[in-house]
Symmetry: C2
Subunit: 122 residues, 2 copies
Amino acid sequence: MDLDFNKTGGMIPAVVQDVTTGRVLMVGFMNEEAFQKTVATGLTTFYSRSRNKLWTKGESSGHTLVVKSIQTDCDKDCVLVQVEAQGPGVCHEGYQSCFFRTLEEGEWKITEAQTYDPKAVY
Amino acid sequence: MDLDFNKTGGMIPAVVQDVTTGRVLMVGFMNEEAFQKTVATGLTTFYSRSRNKLWTKGESSGHTLVVKSIQTDCDKDCVLVQVEAQGPGVCHEGYQSCFFRTLEEGEWKITEAQTYDPKAVY
């Protein structure tokens, strides 16, 4: 399961995609420990750059990302995690996907509706 | 078009997704200049960490990634670029997507066929 963790301070980007809809839900970073924990537990786990620790997505919200398959790219410095997302949304701001802003005429516009109330969850 | 380029050495991950099929084709990094050039030209442009310069995907192969829309995430530290990919494949190793390896029983297995001969292009 060799991956190249050397390029970005011991971390690689991990793209999370909904295995059913194909929607890209979020992008996080994994260090080797986070990657190994993801594989071992089947729950997508990242390394938080702001908190400097591992975090399994959903550990506080319940909105876990259950791993269905993992792919890596030609350079083995990135992973694509196909998941079944539990709960109404992945984003801590209340959206299904963290990518809820679209560039329109030079500005980031919110282009979809919230799927849950983040205040009720976080 | 403010994005947070501070976390990873002035660069953010850029996920490239086929706008028609939803397939994730590749992940690169953009610095602010690469992002601005992507927006201005409509051709997906990255910052190469190994060559320390901008590169517009397809400049040598012709396999450009024509931008259809760009989204950013809640933290504005990542972009998702929806593209129309020109040519038979994005990966310099001859595959439609750079994510041609899948984790199976603890090993990375090549799980799809090449779509072109990279020796004929690069």
